[in-house]
């Protein structure tokens, strides 16, 4: 009797109603196939409880109601577990995608730094504006035709990469 009482306490005031409510909730198209086995066990226990109740065996009927409720709760927990695992897989994929993107961006940054370095070097090597023209296959133009010397470009302050590993 003690066992029955404590199991009934754990199940709440009306395990049969609670089990029925949970099973109704789980009888949705998106969850039906996922929780087939525990729901079938819960329903079987419900039927056995009904038979016991019909035979006047109230004690065992209550125990079977609790059994039905336990299986219904297993099914409910299973749905929540699968939802969490699905969400986990999605977040894991998002993280993996983002980490891959970070690697690509890092590579792009390296390329851009190299491009900036080349531009900087070319700018240093370039004859300043208004300087002499290429001597290959050329003769000097009239001095009067030479454009006035323009001020050099402002020095760029290069950024330094702050890479987070």
């Amino acid at each position: 009797m003690l066992g029955v009482a404590s199991a009934a306490r754990a199940a709440g005031p009306d395990p049969a109603a609670e089990a029925q409510s949970l099973l109704a909730k789980l009888d949705a198209a998106e969850t039906r196939s996922l929780v087939q086995a525990p729901v079938a066990k819960a329903k079987a226990a419900q039927q056995r409880a009904q038979s016991a109740r019909g035979a006047g065996d109230l004690q065992h009927a209550t125990e079977l109601d609790t059994l039905a409720l336990t299986w219904a709760r297993v099914a409910d927990d299973l749905v929540r577990t699968l939802e969490s695992e699905k969400k986990l897989a999605e977040v894991q994929k998002a993280v993996a995608d983002l980490e891959q993107k970070a690697v690509r961006t890092q590579a792009l940054i390296e390329q851009t730094i190299a491009r900036r370095g080349r531009a900087e070097q070319n700018l240093k090597n370039e004859v300043p504006a208004g300087g002499p023209a290429s001597k290959s296959e050329t003769v000097k133009p009239d001095k009067a035709a030479s454009p006035a010397k323009e001020p050099g470009p402002a020095k760029a302050k290069p950024s330094t990469p702050a890479v987070k590993k």
Binding site: A45, E63, R80, V95, V139, A156
Partner: protein, 366 residues
């Protein structure tokens, strides 16, 4: 005697049977096996409350069995079995939730890192582009090299280049004039182009002047486009027209002048537009009518030699056909063989080089 012995055996058998323990229900063995499984053992730590509930039910089942309550022992064992299953599921749920929390933290961190990397990339790109612009400005500010007289071979090559440059200059200036008919500076440039064309008979070839003339005409075209470009810098009108013409399988391309459609073999033996040519020109004329902001420039190129009066007649016929189809502004020009597509020495070059270009002069640089 025999009867007495049989009776004694029956009594003995019954007393043995009465003392034999009741066999444990199968489900109780299943409960023991489930309890010993790795999943349930892990659940003892991962879902202690659910595990404790299952343990309680198992104890109750054992107690019911000890009290010889077979039916209750059976049902309570089944409850224990379900409760162990639930404990295992709850432990799995707890693991998934913990992993999810970890992954969400990783995602937040990765997002922050990516944002930072994007900002860095943008900054470096802007710096690189700024330096490249500075470099371009410096290079553009360099005076053009002055070409000294060279060997006869080189002079011949320069002559070919000058012809091409002057032809390009003329077409660019004509494009500028189509966009802005009253543009004053175009006239002197066209006059200069004509002067230089007249100097091509004897070396040295005026290559520097030809380069300057082309640059001048391109500048005029750019300036003629400037108001439209400034009015709507992101319009992309030429791109839109290019897409429209491409959809019509006219194989257009873009150059400094605008969007160009190349046509070939438009005239029959009597120098009249053939039916296919009329259809093609009609299509282009209708496109020009739908885009009146794009004036048309029809250019006749030949395989060999300079432009002839026959070329000029053909150019005029093409311009007329385009006008009849609705093109509001059309100019025609002949370029001779100054702008070949292929090296004229290559086999099959004549067929490719003899062509008509219908240029939709772009009204904007955007």
């Amino acid at each position: 005697m025999l009867l007495r012995n049989s009776f004694s055996f029956a009594v003995l058998s019954l007393s043995v049977a009465a003392c034999a323990p009741t066999p444990r229900p199968e489900v109780m063995r299943e409960v023991d096996a489930a309890r010993a499984s790795a999943a349930v053992q892990a659940a003892a730590k991962g879902a202690p409350q659910a595990y404790a509930d299952a343990e309680l039910r198992r104890t109750q089942a054992e107690q019911a069995f000890a009290e010889d309550k077979q039916a209750s022992a059976q049902i309570l064992s089944e409850q224990a079995l379900a409760a162990y299953t639930r404990a295992a599921v709850q432990a799995r749920l707890a693991r998934a939730r913990a992993a999810l929390a970890d992954e969400q933290a990783r995602l937040a961190k990765a997002t922050a890192v990516q944002t930072d990397l994007d900002a860095q990339q943008q900054r470096f790109l802007l710096e690189a582009e700024a330096l490249e612009t500075q470099l371009k400005v410096r290079r553009d500010a360099q005076p053009l090299p002055v070409n000294a007289p060279a060997s006869a071979e080189r002079e011949q090559a320069r002559l070919t280049a000058v012809k091409a440059l002057l032809s390009q200059a003329k077409l660019l200036c004509m494009a500028a004039r189509l966009l802005e008919p009253n543009r004053e500076s175009v006239g002197p440039l066209l006059g200069k182009v004509d002067d230089l064309t007249g100097k091509l008979r004897a070396p040295p070839a005026p290559i520097d002047d030809a380069v300057a003339a082309r640059s001048g005409c391109l500048k005029e075209l750019t300036l003629a486009r400037r108001p439209a470009t400034q009015k709507n810098p992101a319009a992309g009108v030429a791109d839109a027209l290019l897409s429209e013409l491409s959809a019509g399988s006219l194989l257009p391309f873009r150059d400094d002048r605008g969007v160009v459609v190349t046509l070939r073999a438009l005239f029959n033996a009597k120098d009249q537009l053939n039916s296919e040519a009329s259809t093609q020109l009609d299509t282009l004329g209708k496109v020009a009518k739908a885009h009146p902001e794009f004036p048309l420039l029809a250019v006749v190129h030949v395989a060999r030699g300079n432009a002839s009066t026959r070329d000029a007649t053909q150019a005029a016929a093409i311009a007329d056909a385009l006008r009849k189809s609705g093109a509001p502004h059309v100019a025609a020009e002949t370029a001779g063989s100054a702008l070949p597509v292929l090296d004229p020495a290559r086999p099959g070059a004549s067929e490719r080089n003899a062509r008509i270009e219908v240029v939709f002069v772009s009204p904007s640089s955007s």
